[in-house]
Amino acid sequence: MRRIRSNFFISLDGVVESPDQWHFPYFNDEMGNAVGTAFQGNDAMLMGRVLYEEWSAYWPHNVDQPFGDVINPIKKYVLSNTLTSPDWENTEVISGDGAADKLREIKAGEGGDIGMSGSSTTVRWLLKEGLLDELNLLVHPIAVGTRLARLFTPDEPTIPLKLLSSETFATGVLNLSYAPAD
């Protein structure tokens, strides 16, 4: 079974939006290694339309940068009901009522794990559908406090989790890995 593994930079108060505004002071080798490890074993990426728009506007023009050599050729699944003809290489759009079944089919098929970076709307939907296998959070020791989007929005169903691993970096960042409880 291929796993869907999601990854976030998140503040202590749960903000995941615009990490460029608060994440960089906490980046060090430990975090670099954790990010690298999180993507080991993945041979596809899953993202929502917002992240697709952002990345597809940038990475095709920056193929020689670190990550550019990985993200451009890798298989990309985009969950969207509005995106119809993606220009970015090796991209497949998953849409409509059958999206959850389609993902179940992909997970049951051949291949490595499927990585995610951000895409909080998609991750909330995956959690509700029971399709998410790993929720990896790099919790930064800062309360961002402002009107930036949080990973978890109100009026969501309750989902019990289990903590798979936890690690504390010298910067006070926590590297937490959760999975839905059995």
Partner: protein
């Protein structure tokens, strides 16, 4: 030396702190569904014993005053005995032993005064609205969190939206029981 103010909360992974031990809520008492282990119990006991006073809002007062006076044991003796300061304009004569009401007309000013005059550690458990005010006024020296492995999905959060960013320093982190995190943050 001014008092040290320590906020202490049970939170879910999505930051909900509402009614972890009971009260009127969609999922009352949700924190009891998790095993926090001997280490977790010890942390809470050590934490409670380190307190010299409690500072709480009205709802937390009502919840505590409705429970602790009827209980026995180390926790109960400590809670019942130590001074309690309640921020409220509507609470009249408090029944709970050793309780003082701070008129919440200007809660921040009253807490600032208390902080100057009191010697020791003042703990703030629960108390959703008060905590937001204290954080905003930069009166909080330490935040102790016990993070339970669940997305509750609704309810009041330990950290609501505030105008300012606040950098913190993680001074302690450990896993207790079944995947429960104990985190201690101080002012950076």
């Amino acid at each position: 030396m001014p008092a040290r103010i320590t906020v202490t909360e049970f939170v879910s992974l999505d930051g909900v702190m509402e009614a972890p031990g009971g009260e009127d809520f969609k999922y009352p008492g949700w924190s009891f569904e998790f095993d926090r282990g001997d280490d977790g119990n010890q942390f809470k006991l050590d934490e409670t014993m380190a307190a010299d006073a409690l500072l709480i809002g009205k709802r937390t007062y009502e919840s505590f005053a409705g429970a602790w006076p009827n209980r026995e044991g180390e926790f109960a003796d400590k809670f019942n005995g130590m001074p309690k300061y309640v921020v409220s304009t509507t609470l009249g004569e408090p029944d709970w032993n050793n309780t003082t009401v701070l008129d919440s007309g200007d809660a921040t000013a009253q807490v600032r005064k208390l902080k100057q005059e009191f010697d020791g550690e003042i703990q703030v458990p629960g108390s959703h609205r008060l905590v937001q005010e204290l954080i905003e006024a930069d009166l909080v020296d330490q935040i102790n969190l016990m993070v339970f492995p669940v997305i509750i999905g609704t309810g009041k959060r330990a950290f609501e939206e505030t105008p300012d960013r606040r950098k913190l320093k993680l001074t302690e982190s450990k896993v207790v029981g079944e995947g429960v995190l104990v985190l201690v943050y101080e002012r950076a």
